[in-house]
């Protein structure tokens, strides 16, 4: 087999848009061929990444979460030991609804929890969620049917949604305590906090944000969970809600004021550096200020630029592997 010419990347579909911008620019700006960026999810991307060293395996895995210990072990078992982790920035997660729909403008985690949890606190008691309208538990919210389109369990975003919204809301409303009081262990209670109601008011979306958008289009009362980038590209259709009083913007997320966000990564197989043409250059290109900086096209598109980008650039230049 002849050596492969192009860089082969696979992984998260959240990272894919940014990777595609960089890949196109990389092809346009260098003499290397345009890298191939496959989608298919962080799981599949890392799996392929970890399957071995050699041209039949990918060079880079995009991931919308940190690689897990088990995965590192699986990688090592296949000889993929030297991995460089690169954090490219943050993905903000926002709640948005039809621009002409009910005035969902400000949520707190408790509101979301009250709306979507299967068991909520009503008058100090933990009961099956009785609410059908937002206004029933928060008079400031519109008098509209509860209907939320949340990321499906396949999405990394779901984890953030659970941890940063539901869990927080669970504690804030006192449900967590009530559960503990009802005799659940801490773990059980934590798990219970993350559950969502199954009567159809909370709809899992396994597809992309376009699907969420389409769902919101079809349901005026719907509230959807989107990535910041997606929302910003569709401000003419969507209006965003604040979370705990903070409006989601690149700045508030970068500063950590806006609570719901997550970092995005890619992982490079060090063994392929110097082997696959332009691999290191690509990594450097990706995190360069011109691209990933606050004025670069990635931020322009909606990526929350990493305040510690300089350190990342350093690490890539030195090919610093994990551990």
């Amino acid at each position: 087999a002849t050596a492969r010419e192009q860089i082969q990347i696979a992984g998260s579909s959240t990272v894919l848009p940014y990777a595609s911008i960089v890949a196109e620019a990389f092809g346009d700006n260098t003499d290397f061929p345009t890298p191939v960026v496959e989608s298919g999810g962080s799981s599949a991307g890392l799996k392929r990444f970890c399957q071995g060293v050699g041209t039949e395996h990918t060079d880079i895995a995009n991931s919308s979460r940190k690689i897990r210990e088990k995965e590192i072990a699986a990688c090592a078992a296949n000889g993929v030991t030297d991995i460089i982790e690169v954090r490219i920035g943050y993905d903000g997660i926002v709640f948005a609804s039809q621009i002409d729909g009910p005035a969902y403008t400000a949520f707190t985690q408790s509101d979301i929890f009250n709306a979507l949890a299967p068991k909520v606190m009503v008058d100090g008691a933990l009961v099956d969620n009785p609410y059908t309208k937002w206004s029933e538990f928060n008079a400031d919210l519109p008098d509209a049917e509860i209907l939320a389109f949340i990321p499906g369990t396949k999405h990394g975003t779901r984890e953030v949604f659970e941890e940063k919204v539901l869990a927080t809301g669970c504690e804030a409303t006192g449900a967590f305590e009530a559960m503990m009081a009802a005799g659940m262990s801490e773990d059980e209670a934590e798990d219970a906090c993350l559950e969502v109601r199954t009567d159809g008011r909370s709809v899992d979306i396994d597809g992309d944000y376009t699907e969420t958008l389409a769902s919101i289009d079809a349901n005026a009362n719907g509230v959807g969970v989107f990535g910041l980038a997606f929302y910003e590209n569709n401000t003419d259709k969507l209006k965003v809600a604040t979370m705990a009083g903070v409006e989601p913007t690149t700045e508030t997320i970068a500063s950590g004021d806006y609570p719901v966000s997550r970092p995005l990564f890619f992982y490079i197989k060090k063994a392929h550096i110097g082997v696959i043409p332009g691999l290191k250059l690509f990594a450097q290109f990706f995190v360069a200020d011109e691209l990933a900086g606050p004025d670069g096209p990635l931020a322009q598109y909606g990526l929350v630029s990493d305040p510690e980008l300089a350190a990342t650039q350093e690490a890539v230049a030195n090919e610093e592997t994990m551990n």
Partner: protein, 445 residues
Amino acid sequence: MTDATSIPAAPEDGRRKSSLRTLDARTRRRNAAEKRFRFYGLAAILVGLFFLVVLGVTIVRSGLPAFTQTVVSIDFTLSEEDYAKAEGQLFKTKAYEQIFNAALVTSLEERGVEAEFDAKAINRIMGKPGATIREHFRANEGDLGTPVQFELSAASRVDGYFKGRVTRDGFVDSRFLQASDLDLVDALAEAGIIRQAFNWNFITGADSGVDNPGGAGIGASVVGSFFMMLVVLFLSLPIGVAASIYLEEFAPQNRFTDLIEVNISNLAAVPSIVFGILGLAVFIQFMHLPQSAPLVGGLVLTLMTLPTIIISTRASLKAVPPSIRDAALGLGASKMQSVLHHVLPLAMPGILTGTIIGLAQALGETAPLLLIGMVGFVARGYPDGFIAGFTEPNSAMPAQIYTWAARADVGFYEKAWGGIIVLLLFLLTMNIIAIILRRRFERRW
């Protein structure tokens, strides 16, 4: 035999004497049933066609705009030093964009376009022209310093404004476009600088980054699909027909044959993504075929299409009356000859139908391609040769459409529908041969 020989009295006198025109109750009932049945049939077809029309209209309405593109056409001069400066940067195309936009600002000021604008507004109006400009001047260094006419695509929202996707009422300012920019766009349109043009790039180009809908084209993936379909057609049709002939005509009737038969029907029900898992393991990781290549895609789709072709071929082989086989055998034809000369031609319509449906399915399939690296961002332009067409990374039409549909910018959504139009045209072209052939083979006996 007594009751047999005695002639029974006419069962219903009414029926015997009845006129042909006056229908008795039973006949009327039967005729009504007949009419109903026939109506159901017609209705079924109409229902099918109705949905086809609905879907077709949706597709065409949403997809046609993809074939036009708002372009900014202007003479642009790039000086040697700007060229050198831009080339010296890491992000060269961005530099070109800035130079170009600056030049546009000056040129507009010179022309005295009646609108308020600043460099930022121009940035918002323009798409991503950097790559086009760089490519041009790299290829024609002689053009440096002389004015060159460029037709560069405008930003996606400006494009949307021209196509009616973005309107002034209900317009929301964003960092991508502001209300004031629309005045500028109107002014530019009046000045003839910005206009709609047929989007050749959409038909011939390759995918672009998510921030550059204006640069995206389906062409490269049409080529990818074409090569995949070549593989699928040339493998699945002969293998499928051969397998069916064996199973239907030659295989001994025993448990093992039954097993194979059930097995094949079962393959049809295997989710297509599982074929992707298989393809990744076998073709890429075991056989070391290149990743993201139409060859591998074709092989995977072949495996997926085989059951469809086998099932339909077997069904139509079964439908050929045995007397035809007998006639051939009786003349001293071998089993093989009787099958190849007589049975197969008579089964041809069904085989072709299977091929049409199987290939249509293969052409529209994305899931298995997901795992072998053909879905995502595979913007590689055209392969540089016939062989390379099979082995160089490429996308496929459905994969391209699928990725476009998932992108945030509405410009891509429109492109996705445009891609669907192209895909359907491709499908129709592909089918037309099979359809004509099928008509020629159709006969009753």
